[in-house]
């Protein structure tokens, strides 16, 4: 479905991505893991058309995404829930949702989609007329995901959805991701919470200093000493991110 090859991205003099190749198949839940600053968010931003690649190709369903604008890429079926949610703080939940459906035009469909989304996110129904900036962190994350679903994306890219959330909310978000996949949405997930990610992902890429260091199923990655060492705190150096 999505194929990224030899992607190279630079911010000024600094090369953020050296040579990234990865793929996501229809219906899969693929995760990108790695320490802060490894380049995971840059990968997502480049696919979304916010950051320009110096080199390499991004093909989604046979179409090249290189040089396309963020709005065109959304219309092709890729939605992004960026790091720190980026809900519109001065807009109500309702207005956030209406914008999520911007790329769709049918009004009756909007109503139906909204009802369906309320089933997944009951709290948003209660908060429907509230200003986005006054929601709690967990509610904002739910709003960000719900908003992106309004566009009916085929691939949804989630950047650190559990960041800064209380443990019980983290559970909620992870089970939501599983639900989304079971509903047929393909997911590319960036996460710091490696332990939980290993439980739900079909395949993972370990990103390190702008390169793919390792790729494989959760079982394959778990067996690698480096993962245990850095991410699961089982090795002698320990103390990685929980």
């Amino acid at each position: 479905m999505l194929r990224v090859e030899h992607l190279r991205v630079r911010y000024g003099a600094i090369t953020a991505l050296h040579d990234i190749s990865l793929s996501v198949e229809e219906g899969e839940l693929v995760a990108l893991i790695g320490v802060n600053g490894a380049g995971k968010t840059t990968i997502i931003s480049t696919i979304a058309g916010i950051v320009k690649a110096v080199n390499g190709s991004i093909i989604f369903r046979g179409q090249s995404l290189i040089g396309k604008s963020p709005e065109d890429i959304l219309r092709l079926g890729i939605a992004v829930v960026p790091e720190r949610r980026h809900i519109f703080p001065s807009l109500t939940v309702e207005e956030n949702m209406r914008l999520g459906a911007f790329s769709r035009h049918n009004r009756s469909e909007y109503r139906r989609d909204l009802d369906e989304i309320f089933g997944l996110f009951p709290v948003l129904k209660e908060r429907f007329h509230q200003i986005g900036g006054t929601l709690s962190g967990g509610e904002q994350q739910q709003l960000a995901i719900a908003r992106s679903l309004m566009a009916h994306p085929e691939l949804i890219m989630l950047d650190e959805p559990s960041l800064g959330l209380a443990p019980s909310l983290v559970d909620q978000i992870f089970s939501l991701i599983v639900t989304l996949q079971s509903r047929g949405t393909t997911i590319l997930l960036v996460e710091q919470n490696v332990e939980r990610t290993l439980e739900i992902a079909n395949r993972l890429y370990l990103v390190n200093t702008g390169r793919i260091e390792m790729e494989g199923s959760p079982e394959q990655l778990k067996s690698q000493a480096a993962i245990k060492d850095v991410y699961l705190g089982e090795g002698k150096s320990g103390g990685g991110k929980p």
Partner: protein
């Protein structure tokens, strides 16, 4: 009854200033760019009133509509021709471009028309007074209130209930995210410029209406008013701009009445003194946003 006359005057100036400020902040909100060419849109409106009004027999109301549409079209083209090219570059480049466009339009008027003030034909209604509660009140002031307030109501409906208006507000919150939801950047920005131009056009009718003449630098006054009003009201919200403009206009009227005759020449100095006091009291402006700015997850 003097009070009544004063009130009409103050509200008239306040609502006009509110409109002036809104036209500037619509663009600032989205591009974080102070459009220094905004005043020239008002100038364009004024010159259209002069050119079309003087050389044809078209009824004034239609001339006014032409002036407003002219300001909208010029606003749209300044974005298309000048700002769009530098938008992806730095904000500084964009800001300097607005100065360039402003200078270009001003000098254009200077060359093509005249450096001297041109008299603009206005309909009778601008110079008549009617008696309300036994007080002679200029119809122009009442007209300013009615048109400004209707325009503000119309814009409120646009911003609150239409998908374009919601997208414009969203773009002011977070432009990149708005694009990631499929809202085309150019649509949002062009619309903002067209709306700003429409406001400038309507403002030009009343601004020119005060002196019945137009000069190449006529836009400088309203630009400064808009800038100061948005600073008083809070740069970050449309409501702030409207409140700031209204407060500015009302205070300015007050000063005009309260100052003794000899000090009247220093009216603006007193105005800015009050602006400084307001900013010392509320550095973020009168209207604060209702939520905490979120930086960390």
């Amino acid at each position: 009854m003097i009070v009544f006359e004063f009130l009409i005057n103050a509200i008239s100036l306040g609502s006009l200033y509110a409109l002036i400020a809104l036209g500037l902040v619509i663009i600032y909100g989205i591009l974080k760019m102070v459009n220094f060419a905004y005043g020239e849109l008002i100038m364009i409106g004024g010159y259209l009133l002069y050119l079309v009004g003087l050389n044809t027999n078209i009824p004034w109301l239609i001339v006014a509509v032409i002036a407003v549409i002219g300001a909208m079209v010029v606003s749209y083209f300044t974005e298309l021709v000048a700002f769009r090219r530098v938008r992806v570059k730095s904000l500084t480049a964009l800001l300097i471009t607005t100065f360039a466009v402003s200078t270009l339009l001003q000098n254009g008027a200077l060359l093509v028309i005249s450096p001297r003030a041109k008299a603009v034909a206005l309909p009778q209604i601008f110079s008549t007074s009617i008696s309300i509660f036994g007080v002679g009140t200029p119809v122009r002031n009442i007209l300013t209130i009615v048109i400004s307030i209707s325009m503000l109501i119309g814009l409120t409906i646009l911003f609150r209930y239409t998908i374009l208006g919601i997208a414009l507000r969203a773009a002011a919150d977070d432009f990149q995210m708005t694009r990631m939801l499929g809202v085309p950047a150019n649509l949002v920005i062009s619309s903002a410029f067209v709306i700003s131009g429409a406001i400038a056009g309507v403002v030009s009718l009343f601004w020119v209406g005060r002196t019945a003449s137009v000069t190449p630098t006529i836009g400088q006054g309203p630009l400064l008013i808009a800038f100061v009003a948005t600073v008083i009201g809070g740069m970050r919200s449309l409501v702030g701009a409207v409140v700031g403009g209204f407060v500015y206009g009302v205070i300015f009227s007050f000063i005009g009445v309260l100052l003794p005759q000899v000090l009247l020449d220093y009216r603006e100095a007193f105005m800015f003194l009050i602006v400084i006091l307001i900013l010392l009291w509320r550095p973020e402006g009168l209207v604060k946003v209702k939520y905490a700015e979120e930086r960390v997850g």
